[in-house]
């Protein structure tokens, strides 16, 4: 199968090699057409965002206002902090110029003159690699003012890397924009959406690294070609990052709609010791977990995974074998969201902490069956009641893990219903009166 984003070409990260393989011809082709034509082709290609929500890229671009006196911006999201995701770093390392070329074409299509590539702070090495590639592109005239001469157009754009500093929430698009503005990375209330009110209040488009890296081949080979790859409703290849209990973890670029079992057994070499699979999280830790005994026939694309009760997310597949302690996994996932909550919304800030407390109680062997319902109820109270989707991301694993593995979790808690001590509330009041002794 053809690889679109990570072709197997030696030293492709070097600009000379990239050029020898037809590099920057797509940009040249794009600049000879109108921006609307480009948006139209990307729309028709069916390219959907690879950063989590799988939203149509072309449609998102078309939201950018055509008539405005304000500058427009493109942000490329390389925050890549979703547990289970490690794909964008492959693009920084092995095919950075395709990303740069994609940026040029996207900026041209939406009318942006400045692009920021936001890369998580932990990726020191990949930031260096990306910055080196960018410096090479500038040196060869493929970015900045010199583009005009190089491509013989009157369009040019500047590309900068913005280094994060350790905050998962900055992957959320509005938080990312605040972070670029040099502020605390608080997500913003939407609407207004970035296309209306983005960076410094100007029209902005935010796309994932992999999304943008797909653009040059679409322009070169035609939308028609792209639309035929993989599942028609979510076409193209996807960089699947597979981790956990598999023999060959790593990133595999495969057509969308590849069977999950194919990915696990044929590409990732199956489960060590031929153990059975207990649970799979198919799209990064925010996505609803699937039962190991229900993986047969599940295809890896946005629509099929939705039908299967999960989501494609970032394509980060986490595999857990039969000996995995799911309570521990869920507690660890919840600890992550508790740690990463920015604290703006009460349900997310407090709810994640409560869920963690309850899960830790179950881990210590002190949980009871009503804790399971309590967890689901807390999760339901977070979901949909927050400014950004981190709330949902924290709620889903808890809710779906417990619903789908109810038998497993019931084994881990006492059947006896323990009600919280009703009089506890008294202890919070200042009172001179002695309180009645509470007997359990």
């Amino acid at each position: 199968m053809e690889k679109i984003v990570l072709p197997e070409i030696k030293h492709l990260h070097l600009i000379d090699v990239y050029l020898a393989n037809g590099g920057f011809n797509a940009a040249r082709k794009a600049f000879s057409q109108s921006p609307d034509d480009i948006i139209d082709q990307v729309k028709k290609s069916g390219l959907r965002g690879r950063g989590g929500a799988a939203f149509s890229a072309g449609l998102k671009w078309s939201f950018m206002p055509k008539t405005t006196t304000k500058p427009k911006y493109l942000c490329v999201n390389g925050d890549e902090s979703e547990p289970g995701s490690f794909k964008d770093r492959q693009i920084f390392e092995f095919n950075p110029h395709q990303l740069i070329e994609g940026i040029l074409i996207t900026c041209y299509a939406i009318g942006a003159k400045t692009c920021y590539i936001y890369i998580r702070g932990e990726y020191h090495k990949w930031i260096r690699l990306m910055e080196n590639a960018l410096a090479d592109a500038y040196r060869h005239g493929f970015a900045g003012e010199q583009m005009k001469e190089k491509f013989n157009t009157d369009f040019s754009c500047e590309i900068y890397v913005h280094k994060g500093a350790g905050a998962y929430i900055c992957g959320e698009e509005s938080s990312l924009m605040n972070s670029i503005e040099g502020k605390r990375g608080y997500p913003r209330v939407k609407p207004p959406f970035p296309a209306q009110y983005g960076l410094w209040g100007c029209p902005t488009t935010v796309n994932n690294v992999e999304t943008i890296a797909n653009v040059p081949p679409i322009i070169s080979n035609g939308w028609n070609w792209f639309a035929k790859i993989g599942e028609p409703k979510h076409p193209g290849t996807i960089l699947f990052g597979i981790s956990g209990h598999v023999n060959k973890p790593g990133v595999y670029e495969l057509p969308s709609g590849t069977l999950l079992t194919d990915l696990i057994y044929n590409y990732a070499g199956g489960v060590p010791g031929n153990k059975k699979i207990l649970c799979v999280i198919p799209g990064g830790s925010s996505m609803p977990p699937l039962r190991g005994d229900q993986l047969e026939g599940i295809k890896m694309d946005a629509e099929s995974l939705k039908a299967a009760g999960s989501a494609i997310g970032t394509g980060g597949v986490m595999v857990m074998d039969e000996d995995t302690d799911l309570v521990k996994v869920l507690a660890r996932i919840t600890k992550f969201y508790y740690h990463e909550s920015c604290g703006q919304c009460t349900p997310c800030r407090e709810g994640t902490g409560w869920m963690l407390k309850i899960l830790n109680r179950i881990l210590r062997g002190e949980g009871s069956v009503n804790d399971l319902d309590l967890l689901i109820s807390v999760a339901n109270n977070i979901e949909g009641n927050t400014i950004c989707a981190l709330g949902d991301a924290a709620a889903w694993p808890v809710k779906f893990m417990i619903e789908r593995f109810r038998d497993y979790f019931e084994e881990r808690v006492s059947k006896e219903i323990k009600l919280p001590v009703a009089n506890k509330v008294h202890s919070m009041r200042k009172t001179e009166f002695p309180l009645a002794e509470i007997k359990n």
């Binding site: 500058p71 890549e80 902090s81 979703e82 547990p83 289970g84 995701s85 490690f86 770093r89 998580r120 702070g121 932990e122 990726y123 020191h124 090495k125 500047e158 900068y160 913005h162 280094k163 994060g164 500093a165 350790g166 905050a167 998962y168 972070s179 670029i180 503005e181 040099g182 502020k183 605390r184 990375g185 410094w200 990052g241 597979i242 981790s243 956990g244 209990h245 973890p249 790593g250 990133v251 999280i281 830790s285 980060g316 986490m318 857990m320 995995t324 521990k328 996994v329 660890r332 996932i333 992550f336 740690h339 990463e340 920015c342």
Partner: protein, 166 residues
């Protein structure tokens, strides 16, 4: 202790300022540069950055406290970041974490008495496919085992004692 940027670093910050329509946007760059020069972000550092960027010191503080990678206290010469998130955990991250704690005799967010090592339990670092992993300062060490981490600790100690010997 007073803090002043070196000439070279000031140039770097001025270069960063040019990338944005607004000086405040360069604050994260400035903090990274300051941390490289000073090792951590002290009050004096924040004051100086505020002065250079012509913004409120409170706004610098707000940024420093939001992002986990800006050190608000000095860290060891080698800052060990152990990922214990799910993919790493499934492949033995907690064994790695315990080994590091035991060998160094410190807990999470502590620095060894000789200031050589510090330890931080971190969230997913984007190495899930080569788990378990740790980062030492800026470098990733992947596909670890308990034996490998012991070796790494040994060689780091050796490097330090060699440096001292000079």
């Amino acid at each position: 202790m007073d803090f002043k940027f070196t000439r070279e670093n000031l140039d770097k910050i001025n270069d960063a300022i040019k990338r944005y329509p607004d000086k405040q946007a360069a604050v994260m760059h400035a903090l990274w540069i300051a941390q490289a020069q000073n090792g951590w972000i002290s009050n004096e550092v924040m004051q100086e950055i505020a002065k250079v960027l012509e913004i409120n010191p409170e706004d610098v503080l707000g940024v420093v406290t939001f992002y986990t990678m800006y050190h608000q206290e000095p860290v060891g010469k080698y800052h060990l970041q152990v990922c214990t998130n799910v993919s790493c955990m499934l492949r033995g991250a907690y064994d790695i974490y315990e080994t590091v704690k035991k060998s160094l005799g410190i807990e999470n967010m502590q620095v060894t008495a000789d200031k050589k090592f510090s330890l931080e339990e971190v969230e997913c670092m984007g190495s899930c496919g080569s788990a378990p992993m740790i980062a030492v300062n800026e470098d990733y060490y992947e596909n670890l085992t308990v034996e490998k981490i012991e070796e790494i600790l040994k060689s780091l100690t050796l490097t330090l004692s060699k440096e001292e010997g000079v």
